[in-house]
């Protein structure tokens, strides 16, 4: 597995090839469409993350000091955005996640989706992932 920073840099690289917002969003939407579906079992309140306009569900599994994440959303753009976040954090150690800086979203021109007042739950999801990692630290 690549480290978190390199994955972020890859995304920044990928996005730099896209010329305008249309292409960037088409890319995000495509990502959203290909994000493996979360098991319906986990589409419950327990796994739901606050964000009143679109819903986000996040599930994680911990094995051999590695965290595995899967997530879903009812809105496709949100789903694309969380696909990016999952790609960055999936199959990493709690330590790596806990100390990682998430800086690629702003760099690829999607920073507006990160505002805590944004109703999409992306920011809450990143907080949640960090929180899960912190709980699994030694």
């Amino acid at each position: 597995m690549k480290d978190i920073q390199s994955i972020q840099e890859d995304f920044v690289q990928d996005f730099s090839l896209l010329e305008d917002w249309t292409q960037r969003y088409e890319y995000i939407i495509d990502l959203g469409k290909t994000l493996p579906k979360i098991d319906d079992l986990y589409k419950t309140d327990e796994y739901r993350i606050k964000g009143c306009q679109s819903q986000v569900w996040l599930h994680h599994r911990y094995e051999n000091n590695i965290l595995y994440f899967s997530a879903d959303s009812d809105a496709i753009i949100t789903k694309g955005l969380i696909a990016l976040v999952i790609a960055v954090f999936n199959e990493q150690s709690p330590e790596a996640i806990a100390k990682a800086e998430v800086n690629f979203i702003a760099k690829i021109g999607l920073g507006e989706h990160l505002s805590p007042t944004r109703a999409n739950g992306l920011n809450s999801m990143i907080q949640k992932i960090k929180h899960i990692a912190a709980n699994h630290l030694a």
Binding site: W21, E26, I29, Q53, S54, D74, I76
Partner: protein, 413 residues
């Protein structure tokens, strides 16, 4: 030449210049502001009034003998007079300033409730209400041990008039009903509904938050017992609401908030309360914004209102025509009489995604449940996209919106 020939038609380009924000860009595109039902933009005269008032005349109102306090008080009270005329109230003291429609309704739910609603009484709320005209009545019913009844609607988003007589009984103390639904656009048939409520002795609170920017209101002709609206939806500043109430009802109700200005005498043992309207205006009011609301009223009064309404009606007809031509799009709320707004869903597409992509194209619409969850439940949708117009919108904006909407749907499918 005939007189009508020289009458200028509604001069939309001139009107737009009165609203500074309409000239701005968003994400490099000209702003298309179709979120008017959430809040309306402000004409320059409103901003100028705020600026001039604070930099020339500001002081706290009432009780002050000095010049600035006097002119502030006079300007503040002038808005009350203007509102009295604007909505056709009989007495100036029937106009109470609050913080918004929500605050106005809460005042009535609490104080009318305390005075007039008892155990086993019934509160009838229409099925078209914004949460602001529903939740306070839920709480009132709970506190007063009263029963909350809902007047159902039809699949068109119109209220079911046939059910009304069954729901109105001599136990019904109040009917809470909107003049216009913010979620669907439905204009309710108040002229026929209010007399039916009065027949059984029920009072009627009309939520005018959505109607006031699109219809002339005459509370006396309607015979509304209470009527509310918000300044910010009427091209005025945020932070001001209006409560109209018939004098005898307001006088019979206990006070709401207490503090300065609403008292007559205060002793530690007990206090006596001031006359209307001060009885319901505790504390320092929102002086500057009330005065600026007065300027918004001036603006509207000087507008070619007839032309403005005809203009936005035409735009809305064209908007709905365009929407109906989009495959998989369903308009939610198809009442015969609608305010110039359209709520819709697109098959297989989440309203949030539509909102995000339209925003990228410079278009502001609202998405979600529009603070009317029971209505969403009724239509079996989690939310809708809602485009809502004002008289300062243009046909070019409607065209661009429809084109952009198609583009967004294509991207998402």
């Amino acid at each position: 030449m005939l007189k009508s020939d020289v009458m200028p038609s509604f001069e939309i380009e001139k009107i737009r210049k009165d609203f500074p924000i309409l000239a701005r860009q968003v994400h490099g595109k000209n702003l298309v502001y179709f979120d008017n039902a959430a809040s309306a933009q402000k004409p320059k005269i409103v901003l100028d009034t705020l600026q001039n008032f604070y930099s020339q005349d500001y002081a706290n109102v009432h009780r002050g003998v000095h010049y600035l306090s006097q002119i502030s008080t006079d300007a503040f009270e002038k808005t009350r007079d203007a509102l009295q005329v604007f909505i056709g109230a009989k007495h100036r003291e029937e106009i109470i300033f609050t913080a918004g429609s929500t605050a106005s309704i809460n005042l009535v739910a609490q104080c009318f409730g305390e005075a007039f609603i008892g155990e086993g009484d019934e509160i009838l709320v229409s099925g078209l209400e914004h949460h602001a005209n529903l939740v306070p009545w839920q709480i009132c019913a709970q506190k007063r041990k009263a029963v909350l009844r809902i007047m159902p609607m039809l699949a068109t988003g119109e209220l079911d008039m046939e059910k009304l007589p069954l729901l109105l009984t001599e136990k019904t103390k109040i009917l809470a009903i909107t003049a216009t639904s913010n979620a669907l656009g439905t204009i309710t048939d108040l002229v026929n509904i209010i007399p039916l409520a009065h027949q059984v002795g029920a009072k009627v609170l009309v939520d005018g938050a959505q109607s006031i920017a699109h219809t002339k209101t005459d509370v006396q002709a309607l015979d509304a017992d209470f009527w509310v609206c918000s300044s910010h939806k009427l091209f005025g500043p945020t932070g001001v609401g209006v409560l109209y109430g018939k004098k005898d009802l307001l006088e019979a109700m206990p006070v709401y908030q207490s503090g300065g200005d609403m008292i007559k005498t205060v002793r530690y043992e007990s206090s006596t309360y001031n006359e209307l309207p001060h009885k319901f205006e505790a504390g320092t009011p929102n002086i500057a914004d009330v005065i600026a609301l007065g300027s918004a009223l001036d603006y509207i009064n000087n507008l070619d209102w007839h032309g403005a309404m005809a203009h936005e009606k035409t735009l809305h007809e064209n908007l709905e025509k365009g929407l109906l031509g989009i495959q998989g799009l369903r308009i939610i709320g198809t009442a015969k009489h609608k305010a110039p707004l359209s709520s819709f869903v697109v098959e297989g597409v989440h309203n949030y995604d539509l909102g995000v992509l339209l925003d990228k194209m410079g278009i502001a619409i609202r998405t979600g449940h529009h603070c009317a969850e029971p209505i969403m439940d009724f239509f079996g949708v989690a939310g809708t996209a809602r485009a809502s117009l004002a008289f300062y919108n243009t046909q070019a904006e409607v065209d661009y919106f429809l084109e952009s909407l198609k583009k967004a749907i294509n991207m998402l499918r």
